[in-house]
């Protein structure tokens, strides 16, 4: 019996013994793409007469598949490979078939690479292996190895060598089998090689290294663990980075041998916390993000005419690393003396809460949150200044006003009024809303037809102002032209759902999402003809599916949820691999690019937070999330204002609240978000949770 795989034109044979050829064969590793989480299985292939014979294992004699080379589109390694820089993992050949199935064929060594390259080139050009030229270009290979006979000789010599150096060969083989091959190909897993130990173990290890078992006269070692989090350790309640070590004593410490100097009291003028001191760490963090973010930044700089993205990426990356290093540095500098198992309860000094209460300010929560603002102000000023400078040429008159106001010295105040609508009375927001409404009504009355982009902006503005009904209507009307925009209309319902949890709304949203997914599946989009549209289609599809997954979680349909999330992850991973290409990146709009970045970041963060046992399973199925990368991408998405920046802010703040015990960072984000999305209740909710962390229960409702 012989089965023909119509899509690949490959022939699946029933298990049969291969006829032993006279010449020894070269078995090369062949990675086969599966459709389950994008996992690749490794098989072994032998090239024979423009066909690849696929074996299950290296020593197996049973051919499980024959793959014709002539039908494949072969992608050769993009970099020039020399003997010096040769690595089997980087010298893979990608074979793509019409049904989009992929195979990755890897050479064993450099010589084999050259042979394979020639063989594939010939196969692609339609020659049979028999018609190989007798000689090869000498500059490529020292030895003439073009003919099949010579190939055979080489192979046999290689085999002899391998017999002689069994140990070495085995080591090499293991290396190839292990990490290298998995790191290759279209999806570079090295992005996810999480060099950092997760927080809990990191802390434990650090504690073990820094402070061995406490001695009698030593102070107790404090280690924050996930257990503390789950119990709601009172350490999490006050921003630790703002405390001055020297001044305080605990209740327990009063006069006894256990007197412990506590480290922490609010020192709001401490600006050192954002000074990067450890250059090596800075580099490390940058390198961890390299892989994707650095490249994006660099390439966008070249490709984009305006500097918006450059400005937002480059400095922010360094800023990110700087703040993280500073934070790391600060946390490292804490001695065990600063910690106490049950929180900073202080005698002789008033607690930060009490200090704040003394002021008698009614808006205590926002006041507490406002500590974070100090840190960002300079950077914000700089950013906005640059933005203003870029508009210098076009808006001369306005520019002069800015300069005048700058010279007056109230630049900060001016910015706060001009750039953000953060007037505490909400007057400016009201004005902007009134403007928006008048625009809408004006247009309707004059019968003008607004441009799509303009209306889309308005729809987003309505969405962010929590006018969900109006936003939904606008999105729906826009979706007639671009069906992908229907997702935003569904999102309006999802926001309502996140607040009221109505079962019937879950069902209707699920149904709409399923319809939209089907619609997107059948929507033709080609990567070559319109790259941006193709990527928009794909990311919308991924988002639709992940929303379906989340709704299935809400309905307790675990298996469906798992399948949806797996499918969405597969699409996102594919997109991630594709946007590494500079050409593709330059062809994408900022919105689409950032949506992809948000998806990558969210998945990385979410997968990194699963319990350790589940994480092991994820690792087995090829998911190695990188929490750091996830956070960095989300941070960038939050800073870049686009359709997903609100969710990025929510994810970051919830992460810092629940998993990192870092109220300061959560404050930073929430405070800004509460100002920017003043009408969005989700931020009020998270802000309320945050105020609980500050023991401000009594002010929760005020």
């Amino acid at each position: 019996m012989m089965n023909i795989d119509k899509q690949t034109n490959s022939i699946s044979l029933p298990p049969q013994r291969q006829t032993k050829s006279l010449e020894p064969e070269i078995r090369r590793p062949l990675l086969v793409n599966t459709h389950f989480f994008g996992i690749k299985t490794r098989k072994w292939a032998v090239a024979e007469d423009s066909t690849l014979l696929v074996y299950k294992s290296r020593r197996s004699q049973i051919i499980c598949k024959r793959i014709p080379l002539k039908d494949a589109t072969i992608s050769f390694p993009t970099k020039t490979i020399t003997k010096q820089n040769f690595k089997p993992s980087k010298a893979g050949f990608k074979l793509t078939y019409q049904n989009k199935s992929h195979y990755y064929l890897h050479p064993i060594d450099y010589e084999d690479y050259l042979q394979l390259k020639m063989l594939l080139e010939l196969a692609q050009s339609g020659f049979e292996q028999k018609s190989f030229p007798k000689t090869v270009q000498k500059q490529e290979v020292q030895v003439d190895q073009s003919s099949p006979q010579i190939l055979g000789i080489l192979a046999s010599s290689r085999r002899e060598n391998s017999i002689e150096n069994v140990g070495d060969a085995k080591c090499e083989e293991d290396l190839v089998e292990g990490s290298d091959l998995e790191n290759t190909v279209c999806y570079n897993m090295s992005f996810y090689s999480n060099a950092k130990v997760n927080r809990k173990s990191h802390l434990e290890v650090k504690a073990k290294l820094q402070y061995s078992r406490p001695k009698k006269q030593d102070k107790p070692t404090r280690m924050l663990t996930h257990d503390d989090v789950s119990e709601g350790s009172r350490y999490s309640t006050v921003p630790q980075s703002n405390f001055n070590i020297s001044e305080l004593r605990t209740k327990r410490g009063m006069g006894g041998r256990n007197s412990i100097e506590h480290s922490q009291i609010l020192d709001l003028n401490n600006s050192d916390i954002h000074t990067p001191k450890r250059q090596e760490n800075k580099y490390k963090i940058l390198r961890s993000a390299t892989a994707f973010v650095g490249k994006v930044s660099h390439q966008r700089k070249e490709s984009l005419p305006d500097n918006t993205l450059n400005d937002s990426f480059g400095p922010k990356l360094s800023y990110l690393s700087a703040t993280q290093n500073a934070h790391e540095q600060h946390s490292r500098s804490k001695s065990p003396d600063q910690y106490d198992s049950f929180g900073p309860h202080l005698i002789g000094k008033k607690s930060p809460l009490e200090l704040l209460l003394q002021d008698g300010d009614a808006n205590l929560i926002s006041k507490t949150l406002s500590h974070a603002r100090e840190v960002f102000e300079d950077e914000e000023e700089q950013k906005v200044l640059e933005r203003m400078q870029s508009k210098k040429d076009t808006q001369i008159g306005r520019n002069s006003t800015i300069v005048e106001k700058k010279t007056l010295g109230s630049f900060k105040h001016y910015l706060s009024r001009e750039i953000y609508s953060m007037n505490p009375d909400g007057l400016q927001e009201e004005n902007s809303r009134a403007k928006l409404e008048s625009k809408k009504t004006g247009r309707l009355s004059h019968g003008e037809r607004p441009s799509v982009e303009h209306t889309l902006d308005e729809a987003f503005q309505l969405f962010q102002n929590f006018e969900l009904k109006e936003a939904k209507e606008l999105f729906l009307s826009l979706s007639a032209e671009n069906p992908r925009l229907k997702l935003f209309a569904i999102e309006c319902d999802l926001i309502v759902l996140s607040l009221n949890g109505f079962k019937d709304l879950v069902d209707s949203c699920l149904q709409e999402l399923s319809q939209l997914t089907m619609q997107l599946m059948h929507m033709p989009s080609s990567l070559k003809s319109n790259t941006n549209l193709h990527f928009e289609n794909e990311i919308t599809k991924a988002e639709c599916i992940v929303f379906k997954g989340v709704l299935n979680v809400a309905l307790n349909h675990k298996w469906q949820a798992f399948l949806c999330i797996s499918e969405s992850w597969r699409i996102v991973r594919k997109l991630e691999a594709q946007i590494k290409d500079a050409k593709i990146q330059s062809a994408l709009s900022s919105e689409v690019l950032h949506r992809i970045m948000f998806a990558i970041g969210a998945f990385n963060l979410a997968f990194s937070l699963v319990p350790p046992t589940l994480k092991k399973i994820l690792k087995v199925i090829g998911i190695s999330p990188n929490k750091q990368l996830g956070l960095e991408l989300l941070q960038q998405c939050w800073e870049k204002k686009f359709s997903r920046s609100m969710y990025a802010a929510l994810l970051i703040s919830c992460y810092h609240l629940e998993f990192e015990l870092d109220s300061q960072k959560a404050c930073d984000v929430i405070e800004k978000a509460m100002i920017q999305y003043n009408h969005f209740p989700l931020f009020s909710w998270v802000g309320a949770l945050l105020s609980w962390r500050f023991f401000q229960v009594n002010f929760l409702f005020n």
């Binding site: 280690m223 198992s341 049950f342 309860h345 006018e467 996140s498 209740p681 229960v697 009594n698």
Partner: protein, 299 residues
């Protein structure tokens, strides 16, 4: 929170997640009546419609099983004090029912408190939206409080097991300690150090429960020395704790162990945490946590 709710007024009919937080705010600040209003409003939407339809039948079934376990309470309840609302998916069900029961108890309506404890049992067994260990634990807690003679400690145990104690400022914690002490002093047969065990089981349970809450509150306030100084009496009593209430004993051991770590008494900490690890209990099990703490501090 108020801002959040105000923003939702026009757009969202019933923002249950924000309402839930609001209910908790009232609950932890001991404002029982507003808390009750909020929780009742909440529960009308998150209980499955079948719950209300089958309540009478379920009640009959549960009565039988409760009688077999030696729990005799009057089950002559009237209709529910609200109308069904639009059904919403919400992850926490059992503890909201327990909160309602606690609120009713605090406003001295014991009959309604019983009804909601029984409702918690029924809902936990048949009408959960999401099955998980926490929900099961709270279901068991409901049964235990139906069995217990005194119900004063339900509020504090709920606050503790829902990890709300850590969110309270010291003044509130001190107020809780005062209330717990008052309750213990009101008992007739307070177990004393010289008393021969076993004393009255009901009072013993109340005493253990009160000890747990006091210990945790003191720990939260940094009064670990006080916890250690009173531990001797507590530890001698823990050995005589009724089997059904092992969870109280385990948690007390765990928290005194943590206090001992803070006081650098590693030997004592190791001893207590190892004991806690060995305690067998079906609800709110802290064996794993104790083990991790031992591992973390190389005890």
């Amino acid at each position: 929170m108020k801002n959040g709710l105000e923003k939702c007024v026009d757009t969202i009919q019933s923002p249950i997640f924000l309402t839930y937080e609001l209910g908790w705010y009232y609950f932890i600040t001991c404002k029982w009546e507003p808390a009750l209003d909020v929780f009742l409003k909440l529960i009308s939407g998150i209980l499955k419609p079948q719950f209300f339809k089958n309540f009478e039948n379920d009640l009959q079934h549960i009565t039988k099983s409760l009688r077999q376990k030696g729990i005799n309470i009057s089950l002559d309840f009237g209709p529910f004090p609200f109308q069904e609302a639009r059904y919403a998916l919400f992850p926490h069900l059992t503890h909201i029912l327990l909160n309602i029961s606690a609120c009713y108890y605090e406003i001295e309506n014991v009959q309604e408190s019983n009804r909601w404890l029984v409702a918690a049992l029924i809902a936990n067994k048949k009408y959960l939206n999401y099955h998980n260990k926490t929900e099961t634990d709270f279901g068991r807690l409901a049964e235990k409080f139906l069995k217990r003679k005194y119900r004063k400690m339900i509020v504090f145990e709920l606050l503790y097991f829902l990890k709300q104690l850590v969110k309270l400022p010291d003044t509130n914690l001190q107020s809780i300690i005062a209330q717990v002490d008052k309750h213990i002093n009101s008992l007739k047969n307070i177990p004393t150090r010289s008393q021969n065990f076993p004393c009255n089981a009901d009072e013993m349970v109340e005493y253990l429960s009160a000890t747990l809450i006091t210990t945790v509150s003191n720990c939260m306030m940094g009064e670990t020395q006080l916890v250690i100084s009173t531990s001797e009496k507590v530890l001698s009593m823990i050995e005589h704790a009724p089997f059904d209430y092992n969870y109280l004993a385990q948690h007390i051991l765990y928290w005194i162990g943590r206090a001992a770590i803070a006081e650098e008494n590693m030997k004592m900490a190791a001893n207590l945490l190892k004991k806690a690890m060995k305690v067998k209990t079906n609800e709110f099990n802290y064996s794993e946590k104790s083990r991790k703490l031992i591992q973390q501090h190389n005890l």
